[in-house]
Subunit: 289 residues, 2 copies
C-alpha cells in the first residue's frame, strides 16, 4: 500500500505522540517535530507508510537517546495478556468453532498497538475482545484460511506487537505448530514484539521464532535478513498481523492472510470496511488460487 496524503498529518501526530511518550523535554519535542517535517518533505509517497514510520521512530530513539521507549509498555502488556490467557483459552475451547474463535481473538489482540495511539487502558483491550467475539467476520474467509493453513507445508506467522503475541500464541496452539515459523522484529520499534517478548510469553517454547532483520513497524522485505526472506519464500502460507504488515505486504504476490483491526481510516477504506472492524483478508494476488 502506498502512502496517501492523509498519512502525512498522521506521521506528524504519531511522531509527536511518540516523542512525548519518550521524554518530557519540550525543546526536544520541537526539534524532533522539525526534523520529522523535513523528512515528510523529502519522502517518496510511493513508499509504504511503515518506511516513514521506521525512519521517524529511529530519529526519535537517536535524538532522545532512549533505545527502547516502549520497553515498559511491552512488558506490561505481555504480563496483562498472559493473565488473560487462561480465560481466553477456555473461551476458545468451549466455543462451537474453536478455530474461528482463536482467529477472532488473535485479531482482537491487535488493539495493543502504540503506533496510532499513545495510550491504551486495559478496559480497551477487554472491549476489543468482547467486540471480536461477536463482530461480523466473513465465515468463508475463515474456511479458506483453515484449509490453506492445513494444506500448507510451511507457514510463516509474522507477528506485530508485544502483548498481542499472547493472543497469537492462543491461535498457534490450534495450528500445526511444527510447520510454523514465527517472526519478530530484530530491534525495538514502537511496541512491536522482539525476541525478548517472544521469550517472555513462551512462544519460543512452542514454535521456531526468528528475527526478521529489521526495525520497521511492518515488513519491508528488501531490508529483511536473508534467513527471513528464505523462510518467507518457501512458506506456502503467511499469516501477517496488524496494519503495518498489511501496508507493507498487501501488494505482494503471495498467499498471505492479513489479520488485523482496522484502526486507521485510510486502511479501513483500502480494505473496504468500517473503521474499528476486525478483518481477516487473503491477499488480493492470491485470491484466484
Amino acid at each position: 500500500m502506498k502512502t496517501y496524503l492523509d498519512c502525512f498529518p498522521c506521521f506528524l501526530q504519531q511522531a509527536l505522540n511518540a516523542v512525548r511518550f519518550t521524554t518530557d523535554d519540550e525543546a526536544l519535542h520541537e526539534k524532533v517535530m522539525h526534523e520529522v517535517i523535513k523528512l515528510a518533505l523529502e519522502m517518496d509517497p510511493r513508499q509504504t507508510p511503515p518506511e516513514m514510520g521506521q525512519i521517524i521512530h529511529k530519529l526519535i530513539r537517536d535524538m532522545t537517546g532512549v533505545a527502547d521507549p516502549y520497553k515498559e509498555v511491552k512488558e506490561r502488556f505481555n504480563r496483562y495478556a498472559l493473565e488473560l490467557a487462561p480465560r481466553l483459552r477456555k473461551i476458545i475451547e468451549e466455543s462451537q468453532r474453536p478455530m474461528e474463535t482463536a482467529v477472532r481473538l488473535a485479531i482482537a489482540g491487535n488493539i495493543i498497538d502504540f503506533g496510532p495511539k499513545s495510550s491504551l487502558r486495559d478496559a480497551q483491550v477487554n472491549e476489543a475482545i468482547e467486540h471480536a467475539l461477536t463482530a461480523e467476520l466473513d465465515p468463508k474467509e475463515i474456511d479458506v484460511f483453515e484449509k490453506s493453513i492445513n494444506d500448507a507445508n510451511g507457514i510463516l506467522y509474522i507477528g506485530d506487537n508485544a502483548g498481542e503475541i499472547v493472543f497469537d500464541r492462543l491461535l498457534i496452539e490450534r495450528l500445526p505448530r511444527d510447520k510454523i515459523t514465527f517472526a519478530v522484529k530484530s530491534k525495538p520499534v514502537i511496541n512491536d514484539a522482539t525476541m525478548a517478548d517472544a521469550v517472555a510469553v513462551g512462544l519460543t517454547e512452542l514454535v521456531r521464532v526468528i528475527k526478521n532483520g529489521g526495525d520497521a513497524p511492518g515488513t519491508i522485505l528488501r531490508n529483511c535478513s536473508e534467513e527471513f526472506k528464505e523462510i518467507y519464500d518457501r512458506s506456502d502460507a503467511v499469516i501477517a498481523k496488524g496494519q503495518g504488515n498489511y501496508e507493507t505486504l498487501s501488494d505482494e504476490n503471495k498467499n498471505i492472510f492479513f489479520l488485523l483491526k482496522a484502526k486507521c481510516p485510510i486502511i479501513a477504506r483500502h480494505l473496504e470496511v468500517d473503521i474499528g472492524s476486525i478483518v481477516i483478508r487473503r491477499n488480493h494476488s492470491s485470491q484466484g488460487e
Copy 2:
C-alpha cells in the same frame, strides 16, 4: 495563543481537506501538500495558528485558481440559518432569560465552521442548537457580559462564519444596536463571513458593518485596516466569535468576550473546558476590571 506542536498535524489535515474540497485534481492535492509541509518547516511557532491558516488558504486559492472555494457553502448556510431564524427568535422571546438564550444560540452558530472540518450536515447544526440551549454555561459570565455590554459606549462585534452570522444577528437584535459595529473579513478565507454574507442575512440593515482589512481566519490586528483598528481601539467592549478570533486575540489587553464552541482539543485545553463545550469567556487581561 501561540501555535502548539499539535497544530502542525492539524494544519496538514486542514490543508488536505481544503484542497480536496476545492478541486478533484489529485496531482494538485499533492503539490499543495508539499508546499504546506514546506511552510510548516519555516513557520515561527510563536505566531498564532490563524497566521498559518491565512497563508495555507491563500496558497490553496492561488494554486487552484479558485478565489472563493467556499462560496456555495457560505450561501447555503446563510439560507439555512435564515430559515431557522424565526423558530430561534421565538425560542429567545419565549425564554425566561432571553439574553442568555440569545448568547447560547450565537455560540451554537459557531458550529458552522469549515476550518476544522470539511463537511457539515444540517442535522449537526440542529444538534448544536439543542446542545447549546441546555449545556452548562457560567451564569456569572453572562451577567458580566450583559452588564459590560450595557455599560459600553462602543461595541465591536467581530464575526466569524457565514451562516453563523444569522445567529449573531439574533443576539444583536437584543443588544444596543446603535453602539455596535460588526466586522467581517475583507476577502474570502474558508467559510468566514464577508460583506456579501452580511448583506445576504440583512445584518447591514441592522448595524454598521465594516470589513476588517484582512483575510486571515481570525483577527491579526497588525494586518487589519486603519478603520478597523481605530474602531477596535475606541470600543470599550468587544464580542469576538469563534476559535480563530480566540487564538488571535486571547493575549490582548482589552475587554473582549469570546463566544465559541471549543471544537479543537488544544483550544479546549487552553480554555480548560471539554471539547464540544459552549464557551463565553471574558479576556484574562480584562478579568480584574
